[in-house]
Symmetry: C2
């Protein structure tokens, strides 16, 4: 395919996505980032060119991928003339329409995963959600997405935003609860790794079973004896106590209403 | 080994634990449960006897395993004469001392895992925490535990309670957040399984990385633009909105203080 891509942004998402696109035979012509360090690092990985100057962004790319944080879109994109090339962002919470003022050919390419440095991820399993402003652009994005993932769907901006909210609960908030667990254990000199099999099994269970059916623990029946003991152990952490109470109440109410 | 065990309780924990003990060559002589259905089902799995009558619990066992919910301990155990045989409970939040009035030989045998019906679990990976009222009893429990798990430690009641609190966050509360994610997706007709790779990767990441270092998402820097969009999507669920706010604030504060 004669797909020459430029990446605007060089963070974790850009690194993983550009990496797998190159692996699948696409040509990443250039990486732009404000940070010289990030731009250079990703360009070296991709064996391609980089720039930290908006004026030097190549004008002959076929697709521009925007992998910036949402709050940087406006400032950076207004400075680039995309000459109506296909301009695509990778954000869960930005609507497609936010790109309208920069090009006549726009789309969204949203891979649903948490990307960290130094972790290899099997991209073929990652759901990719695309959206575009015309059937032709949608088709191009589907073709690109299907080269890297076996799970490509079209999803509109409103649904994608809801999907992003759900991902914050299932990933960011979940990770915060791992963090709270780690704090509680640290105070008693218990290594966090004792929780590893429990954490994995909890995640594996819902791969097969509706999460509402997998719920166990004292909150389902609001076992006050156990709950009050747990709240006592959380006395050094008033904020975690508050979270414990609120989540327990939420669990209890959820199962009362079913 | 001449270990004849009786199981008091026939729920998920009893089913998994008795099953693996039998597999490793221990003899489960009898299962007691108030529920005929549960008692019979487990006894059939173990090819052993069962009773629903406390008076008929065998008196010649070598170890009695109590796998009841915490609130049922008192009512059931006061009716049994254990003749000072080794009496062991499997609860995360009950202290060892709660067994003192029932026998002179007491212990705790706590496998840290979430057990569900119809799910096979590799017991050898499950951390088992034991405690006993004498070095001899402790040694017996360690010997039993080491037959089924490669991860056996001695842990006192106070630390075990903290461990249990941390497990509620890392398992029960995490599962509730999977449930909330499922509710949000259901309202937009998006299948829950799109979150599967994200959920698994989030759990796998902390097997190698301290969870505080694995945190991503809008709450870390309190990205108000994204957060307010997410809160809007949660308008049909005022309670989930409240949780979203509180957890986001907790994440933000946590990283401000580091």
């Amino acid at each position: 395919m004669s797909h020459r891509f430029v990446f605007i942004g060089a963070g974790n998402l850009a690194t993983h996505l550009a990496g797998v696109l190159k692996e699948k035979g696409f040509s990443i012509e250039q990486v732009y980032s404000r940070s010289e360090k990030s731009a250079k690092l990703l360009a070296e990985k991709l064996q391609t060119k980089y720039t930290t100057s908006i004026q030097n962004i190549f004008t002959d790319a076929v697709v521009y991928f925007v992998a910036l944080k949402d709050s940087a879109f406006e400032e950076i994109l207004t400075q680039i003339n995309f000459q109506n090339k296909l301009l695509v962002h990778c954000s869960g919470s930005m609507p497609l329409a936010c790109l309208e003022k920069y090009s006549e050919n726009i789309g969204v390419f949203y891979p649903l995963q948490t990307f960290s440095k130094n972790r290899n991820i099997d991209f073929s399993e990652i759901p990719v959600f695309v959206e575009a402003n015309s059937p032709e652009n949608e088709k191009r994005l589907i073709q690109i997405a299907e080269k890297i993932s076996g799970r490509v769907s079209v999803l509109n901006s409103e649904k994608r935003l809801n999907l992003h909210t759900s991902a914050v609960f299932a990933c960011n908030f979940v990770n915060h609860f791992y963090t709270i667990a780690a704090e509680v254990l640290k105070s008693k000199e218990i290594p966090f790794e004792v929780l590893n099999p429990l954490i994995l099994e909890t995640a594996r269970k819902v791969q097969e079973l509706e999460p509402a059916l997998a719920q166990t623990g004292p909150a389902v029946r609001f076992d006050e004896n156990v709950i009050s003991k747990h709240l006592e152990t959380l006395q050094p952490y008033p904020e975690f106590q508050k979270l414990y109470r609120l989540v327990s109440e939420s669990i209890y109410k959820f199962y009362q209403n079913r």
